[in-house]
Symmetry: C2
Amino acid sequence: MLPASLLTRLSARFGDRFSTARPVCEQHGHDESHFAPVPPEAVVFALSTADVAEAVKACAEHGVPVIAYGTGTSLEGHVAALKGGVSIDVTGMDAILVVRPEDMDVTVQPGVTRKRLNDYLRDSGLFFPIDPGADASLGGMAATRASGTNAVRYGTMRDNVLSLEVVLPDGRIIRTGRRARKSSAGYDLTRLMVGSEGTLGIITELTLKLHGIPEAVSAAVCPFPSVEAAVNTVITTIQSGVPVARIEFLDQAMVNAVNRYSKTSHQVAPTLFFEFHGSAAGVREQAERVQTIAAEFGAPDFLWATGTEERTRLWAARHNAYYAGVALRPGCRTWTTDVCVPISRLAQCLLETTADLDASPLTCTVVGHVGDGNFHAMLLVDPANPDEVTEAERLNDRIVRRALAMDGTCTGEHGVGHGKMRFLEEEFGEALDVMRLIKAAIDPQGIMNPGKIV
Amino acid sequence: MLPASLLTRLSARFGDRFSTARPVCEQHGHDESHFAPVPPEAVVFALSTADVAEAVKACAEHGVPVIAYGTGTSLEGHVAALKGGVSIDVTGMDAILVVRPEDMDVTVQPGVTRKRLNDYLRDSGLFFPIDPGADASLGGMAATRASGTNAVRYGTMRDNVLSLEVVLPDGRIIRTGRRARKSSAGYDLTRLMVGSEGTLGIITELTLKLHGIPEAVSAAVCPFPSVEAAVNTVITTIQSGVPVARIEFLDQAMVNAVNRYSKTSHQVAPTLFFEFHGSAAGVREQAERVQTIAAEFGAPDFLWATGTEERTRLWAARHNAYYAGVALRPGCRTWTTDVCVPISRLAQCLLETTADLDASPLTCTVVGHVGDGNFHAMLLVDPANPDEVTEAERLNDRIVRRALAMDGTCTGEHGVGHGKMRFLEEEFGEALDVMRLIKAAIDPQGIMNPGKIV
């Protein structure tokens, strides 16, 4: 129960942008994960940094939890109000504040989604490359250190945030850094806030790096005789210094799902999807080099194209993969694993994982950002069936422990939320204590998104 | 004065690898900056992580300061023992532990220097790109978030450290992350430690990203009619997406100094030096595109070459710049400024700075990593002449304040040490409080390199 004085204060300050209505709270208690929703007790719809600062300050004075909410597309229960409190919805903070073409950067409010930013930028010759699949808010993407298909060339949110404005747990507003491209001035607060999932503060403004839209793009698709052959092609491609923009992997089960879903007739085999960015001559050269490498690993059916329509056709299977996977068992929820391992261990990790999945009664598919060593097993689970939930948990545990044993991480890009917390001790050992010290120092009351990360 | 019980303990533990001899202490109290040396009271020569951990633990139990020492090539007084204490020299921790060509990474001890690492890697086809000029230790480079000439393409130490082993202020040993190329697991302790200058812990092991030695390299040099024309060429080059590896700037005074020092006859003009990495066709294409851009900005004398000897000849002026600058006034110390601004402000920042330097009685030159917006004014100062020191201080203050007003940083790559501390309040405002909270949480006794950063 929220204290009456807080309810009065927030209601007076925010009027109809403050709500305790049940449907509103319920909508703010769940993301796209398999976890049960946990609604907050109230929602503030913020329109400005001052709104966020005042709401946080009011909550802090009452020791009440605060949870930032963007598009609700996270996958580890990040927005669940595990200890009650107030959700601060920043989707109304959706202004693209300044585009600076000369500096190739942009300042946005946290509710701007990545697709809207790229639509807005279209005529500038610039784009923002991070593509986690969902049309997530940029604030949420920074908060979870998101990445996706373009990370192999353009990096993750870690690499593409220049500076942040953040509301601290006591309501003060800070800026984590300047717009200079590099700096050695003090502790890297920008990188500390990126990936902190609203547990150290709420992001209210982001300055992001932009990249030039490539002069030419080419795409390719190639089925492989084995998972190993596909992964070895990836390793050799990266080692050869081919600056590939995307390398995506679908396992045999996923290609099969896509064929069913999209009525296509792709060869049912482990398959790689490539995208190359550069000059016209450059993308041709890149595609030819990868074609040669793939052939060396026994894959002669390398198809590539530069025309937009042809490229879209080649990549359709990858783009439809998520929905094709889900469609294998309508009505189910998807439990998505997210390990990332050093690329030398990827073939073994994928092969052992595939063997686990094959031996499981659950319907499962695999899709991977293999250029980074990151892949997702999509486990289709009927949430009403406790045996299936237990089985998904068992598989996820095995996959995470395997990745950790290979010097990998439990989460490549989805974040910790409350879903991955129990693996952090194993992943970090005593370093987790340092995270706890930082959390306690910056948020001594523990009101910022409690029950997440540490 | 160090407590007798600490002296006894360290002496018993380290034998002749522990010293309180005056020359040894003096050698560990200065770096390559213009600041007066401040020697520690004792030096431990560490050979292992256990050595560092035990030395730190002993000091912590006595509340005695600890300062990490590598090659002593820092530029902001980082190693000065401002509050006395024990210097831990890690130059003996110089093992290259594991090279993993498949993962393109390497694990090293902190005393390994960048040149030795690259010599060692030569036959592997891989290299470590960060080149800050000095043959610094990799531990020191991580501690100061160093970068240098290759940063425009390969990033800084921030981008090229995968994970660190760190001895905490209480002597515990942590690892900040796994070897996976990306992770969303918890707070980014790796990036927190990179740039923390020994104030949060001592780096005892580094896992670094490696890059493929490019198939082809080409180099170019081009004099410009004005600083503005040179900077506009830089901006256009980067916006066009030319993946240039290095873009370095020398001002007219510096080219003049080089001509005198190396008996060359370069046109005395603002000059850019380029290096291109890629395939044979790729580097040709890159050079041709930049040549076209330079010509558009009124610079027809673009010279480029791919042969090793020819490349070395073209870049000789850049490589000799530091010593050529110093040679303008033998016996002086160099006070090197280090601001970095958004690239759109670089022309104005450089022009106004050059006007300041021209109006000053000091001998000054400018060299810049202009692809990142970073440049150094080298001010030659007779340390025995207080007027000159005051004048250098005045110039440095003006240059920093100008950069801050342009949304830049007081230090692009040298770090804060004690030399830049007084600018952090202006650069970060209340965010500096967050740095102080982190420092107090991780190092509550304040024994780690006290008097630096915060």
